[in-house]
């Protein structure tokens, strides 16, 4: 954000959407620095246009949204990814979020919602919708029940009671302000908690990938 204007790149294989999203964001005063029609093109153009936020379609030919997210996060650590999805396919969404996307929106979300999500992504805040909260909650539960009983402490990330409580409220559609009121904590604290949850998940995913790479001997090549 060189001059305070959020720089955005829009990646979607449907021209109609690419243009609609770019127009919405442009009209709202954001700077759409580039558009791309698939993940590979996005990665090629990314170093030159230096966006703050990449708005990424999940379903694309050649390089799909999950793989693109993984590479953007790995190769351009400052760039944040907001996923847009038409189908809401749960497993792919979870993978994208674990790979480093800071949130997702379904495509039919209204322009103000999209704008708000892009702005929040730009400031590094997680876009925690009810859908994402339900997914993340499920994923932590899955990891906990899949973990062996004799596993050393800290191998599998777990949610604190507070985090679980907040995530459940988000998943039931409460806004962070409503949650703050209900739990008698500050709005900021709620956001910190949701942010922590996402970081925990993404960090664990990176650790898992690294562990897998070492086990498979991929680190030696």
């Amino acid at each position: 954000m060189t001059d305070g204007v959020l720089r955005v790149m829009v990646v979607d294989d449907h021209p109609m959407w690419r243009e609609a999203v770019a127009r919405d964001l442009g009209e709202a005063g954001l700077r759409v620095v580039a558009t791309a029609s698939d993940g590979a093109e996005a990665l090629r153009r990314l170093p030159a246009v230096r966006p703050d936020v990449v708005v990424l379609d999940l379903q694309m030919p050649t390089l799909d949204g999950v793989a693109t997210t993984r590479r953007i996060v790995a190769e351009h650590p400052g760039v944040r990814v907001l996923v847009l999805t038409a189908s809401g396919e749960q497993s792919d969404l979870l993978e994208a979020v674990k790979a480093g996307a800071t949130g997702y929106l379904v495509k039919s979300a209204s322009s103000p919602e999209l704008l708000d999500a892009v702005r929040r992504t730009g400031t590094g805040e997680a876009v925690f919708t009810a859908g994402l909260a339900g997914l993340v909650l499920g994923e932590f539960r899955r990891m906990a029940s899949a973990a062996p009983h004799d596993e050393p402490e800290g191998m599998t990330p777990r949610l604190t009671e507070r985090e679980t409580e907040i995530l459940r409220l988000v998943a039931k559609g409460l806004s962070s302000r409503q949650i703050a009121d209900r739990l008698v904590i500050s709005h900021r604290t709620v956001q910190n908690h949701t942010q922590n949850v996402l970081t925990k998940l993404q960090l664990h995913n990176r650790v898992e990938l690294t562990r897998y790479a070492i086990e498979q001997g991929l680190d030696e090549t």
């Binding site: 294989d13 449907h14 109609m16 959407w17 609609a20 379903q59 030919p61 799909d64 038409a86 189908s87 809401g88 396919e89 749960q90 497993s91 792919d92 969404l93 979870l94 379904v106 495509k107 039919s108 979300a109 209204s110 322009s111 009810a130 859908g131 909260a133 339900g134 997914l135 909650l137 499920g138 994923e139 539960r141 899955r142 029940s145 899949a146 459940r168 998943a171 039931k172 559609g173």
Partner: protein, 408 residues
């Protein structure tokens, strides 16, 4: 894990999705091949019977060369074998498998066995010497087994056995008994094996057909669903922005979009082999523009009965939201998969109600929505709790315990 398979295939189809082509050529080759295979496999069985016939006939010929001069009428033996040879040639060349031909085959074999009694030396007959057709008599038994399974095989074997008994005039020697036992075994075992083979092949054909159908559905999901979703979402978004009449079109498009997305997001609510259903998929179908359904990425499997109860209860709760929570109320359905239970929460942001009103309603015997929800869930061993306050909406939590020892 069934989830990972579904995930892989969905990802594969997302990758396979072309950029412009909507409908490719329909995949039907697998089904056609399998049906072609059915005919070919039966032909192979019949060919095997044919090979046995020829080998058995040659064997009978060789035997007769050795005992020709011991027969009362050696030439008569050759005549019978010649008839069998012509018959075998006819069966092989014309591939005649009509029931009439099979019955004739059986009759001919029995006749050949009985002919031995008149053509051979009576002393040899009494001693239980080989019959004229010897093991050729087993070929109609095999043919019946291939034709109609083990019962037909057994029936044919008993018929030939009766001819055998008649041939020796009822004085059974060890050899004859042994032959009869072998004949009965051959007919039954081969018939049974053929039945197993056919059943297996039917299952395979069915599996291939199901597989082809599901591939076709996945391809449709990838191509058409995605394209349709993109357009519906676009209409919903733009129509809403334009307003006026377009807003109504946007609303309609939005409803279809949500339903289609629910279908894709969790897949269709199909039952697993163990009679379990994915609660997410079942509830996903209840999503609308005002109701969002969230849950884990993996299927949440519970017995179909429990899934039905939960679905009915959630439907009742959502109906209640639509009726009482106010026109602008939104609702959220959250599915949580805990190790020992499945929790489903239905929350709305409507007008809510004062504490105790629901209890009072239940006490007064006015069986309202809560009673209906409670009834369904308690039927499957679950519990229900309802929290509501004026202005804060209503939250209904359903908890259904899960049987131990589930497989994940």
């Amino acid at each position: 894990m069934s989830g990972s398979r579904a995930r892989l295939s969905r990802r594969a189809r997302a990758r396979a999705r072309g950029r412009s082509g909507i409908i490719g050529p329909v995949e039907r080759s697998a089904v056609v091949t399998s049906e072609g295979g059915l005919v070919a496999d039966d032909a192979r069985l019949w060919r095997a019977v044919g090979v046995f016939r020829v080998a058995a006939l040659l064997y009978a010929g060789l035997l007769h060369v050795r005992v020709d001069d011991e027969y009362r009428h050696g030439w008569g033996g050759w005549a019978v074998l010649a008839v069998l040879a012509v018959w075998t040639g006819y069966l092989l060349v014309r591939a005649d498998r009509r029931p009439r031909a099979l019955w004739a085959d059986l009759a001919l074999a029995c006749a050949a066995v009985l002919a031995t009694r008149f053509l051979d030396d009576p002393e040899r007959v009494v001693a239980g010497a080989q019959t004229l057709p010897s093991i050729y008599a087993a070929s109609p038994v095999l043919a019946f087994a291939v034709w109609r399974g083990w019962r037909a095989g057994l029936g044919a074997a008993l018929t030939v056995a009766a001819a055998d008994v008649a041939e020796v005039g009822g004085r059974l020697s060890t050899t004859t008994v042994n032959n009869i036992v072998l004949l009965v075994l051959a007919g039954t075992v081969v018939g049974y094996a053929v039945e197993l083979f056919r059943a297996g092949r039917r299952d395979l054909a069915r599996a291939v057909a199901v597989e082809a159908a599901s591939r076709e559905r996945e391809r449709l999901a990838a191509d058409i669903h995605d394209s349709v979703l993109q357009v519906l979402a676009y209409v919903r978004k733009r129509g809403g922005e334009v307003g006026g009449e377009a807003a109504e079109i946007a609303r309609l498009a939005g409803e279809q979009e949500v339903r289609l997305r629910a279908l894709i997001a969790t897949g269709e609510p199909v039952s697993t082999a163990g009679g379990e259903q994915d609660v997410r998929a079942v509830l996903g179908a209840l999503a609308t523009g005002r109701v969002s359904v969230t849950g884990p990425a993996e299927p949440v499997l519970v017995p179909a009965r429990a899934a039905g109860a939960v679905c009915g209860a959630v439907r009742a709760a959502l109906d209640n939201v639509a009726q009482h929570a106010g026109p602008a109320a939104l609702a959220w359905v959250l599915v949580e998969d805990e190790d020992d239970a499945v929790t489903v929460t239905v929350r709305d942001d409507g007008v809510g109600m004062p504490a105790g009103r629901l209890d009072a309603a239940e006490h007064e015997g006015r069986l309202g929505v809560v009673a209906s929800i409670r009834g369904r869930i308690e039927d499957v061993g679950g519990t229900v709790s309802v929290v509501s306050a004026p202005g804060e909406g209503t939250e209904v939590e359903l908890r259904v315990p899960r049987a131990r020892g589930r497989t994940t």
